[in-house]
């Protein structure tokens, strides 16, 4: 067993002073195998989502609880879950998937405020936070709270209601879990004058557009009034995102390790070989590994 592992990972006379995993044949087989795994996993994900797909453990209730915990720390009143804002968030999420964009304002100029108005929510203040690629609610809330502009929305005394949408789909070329958080405060005509719209994304305040009933496609019957309006409950047999990521991390670390061992051992033995520079490979693979670790997780907007 030891000699087999040495043959695979350590330069030795049995492997012609080059670890077997770095031989051309081994690299070629690995590249082909990874290509086959990539294509087959795409096909399985498409045809058998119950077996292999992305998954996440995020619920609107948990997002609400965590958001309110942050507000409580600042002595602010807790936000109430509003089904109209959740409908607006769902409309926004659907629009993002349909139009394939990752932004507060759609390429066609549609703003988040249209979805809020279309949900029937007449707002005095409104705002929006977005997140994608996260797998748990604490990860989402933590990412938002570490971003000044998102934190400002979460901890704004201007808002007293919130709605969430958590949806999966393909966005800008990859399967992802999308979380939309819509904040709002209802406009009450007799008591308050229309004012400016609070921003969730860092833009200048936008004058509140007067609400037009005709643009609201929803009625009470259509909307319903669920207490928990969004959660992700799909639980495939295999989580494609974490599985492929872990496979890649393992192979990256294995190859970087073997290249370092190879460089050290051959450097000591002063063996002459016709091979490429190990440092080239190490810099290249390490850069990709670092990038993957740093940015492979979710992003917020």
């Amino acid at each position: 067993m030891f000699s087999f592992l040495r043959h695979l990972f350590v330069p030795h006379h049995t492997n012609n002073h080059r670890p077997k995993v770095l031989h051309h044949q081994s690299l070629f087989v690995l590249v082909i195998a990874l290509c086959i795994i990539s294509v087959s996993s795409t096909l399985v994900r498409r045809d058998y989502p119950a077996v292999l797909s992305i998954t996440a453990d995020i619920s609107a209730q948990e997002l609400l609880t965590l958001t309110n915990k942050e507000r409580e720390k600042e002595g602010l009143t807790p936000l109430r879950l509003n089904d109209q804002l959740s409908t607006a968030a769902t409309l926004k999420a659907d629009h993002m998937f349909t139009k394939n964009y990752w932004a507060h304002i759609a390429p066609d100029g549609t703003t988040p405020w249209l979805f809020i108005r279309n949900s029937g929510y007449e707002y005095l203040y409104a705002g929006e936070n977005l997140a994608r690629g996260f797998t748990t609610a604490p990860e989402v809330v933590t990412a938002w709270i570490h971003s000044p502009s998102h934190k400002e929305n979460m901890l704004s005394p201007n808002y007293n209601e919130v709605g969430f949408a958590i949806k999966t789909g393909e966005l800008t070329g990859s399967d992802t879990v999308l979380v939309v958080e819509m904040f709002g405060t209802k406009y009450i005509a007799q008591e308050q004058q229309p004012t400016t719209l609070g921003q969730t994304f860092p833009t200048p305040a936008i004058p509140r557009v007067s609400f037009e009933a005709s643009v609201n496609p929803f009625n009470d019957e259509q909307r319903g009034a669920p207490e928990i309006v969004a959660s992700l409950e799909n639980r495939p047999l295999i989580d494609s995102k974490s599985t492929t990521r872990n496979i890649a991390l393992f192979i990256f670390i294995l190859f970087i390790g073997v290249l370092i061992i190879d460089a050290i051992v051959i450097g000591r033995k002063q063996v002459t070989r016709i091979v490429a520079h190990n440092i080239d490979h190490i810099i290249f693979l390490t850069a990709l590994l670092i990038a993957g670790i740093l940015i492979g997780k979710g992003v917020i907007l």
Binding site: I274, A287, L288
Partner: protein
């Protein structure tokens, strides 16, 4: 380390690519373009170095192409493209 400047260029380009990948978070298509660009640079720069300072047998070319392909495909997995 007689070719330190050469490795420094590789290091700087790799660092810039990491920064660019960070800046285009959320845009998977741009991330693929950047990873592909880094892969092509790695292969070209490695072969150029060998061509200038050493000889460049087919074995070396194949090694750079295979490691480059491996890195690119693993990135597709790692970034969940």
């Amino acid at each position: 380390m007689k070719h330190i400047w050469y490795y420094c260029v590789s290091f700087v380009v790799a660092s810039v690519c990491i920064l660019l990948l960070f800046l285009v978070q959320g845009d998977k298509n741009m991330q693929i373009v950047i990873v592909l660009g880094l892969t092509l640079f790695y292969i070209t720069w490695g072969l150029l170095h060998h061509a200038i300072h050493h000889n460049i047998p087919l074995k070396i070319v194949i090694e750079y192409v295979l490691i480059g392909s491996l890195g690119f495909i693993l990135s597709l997995f790692l970034f969940n493209f």
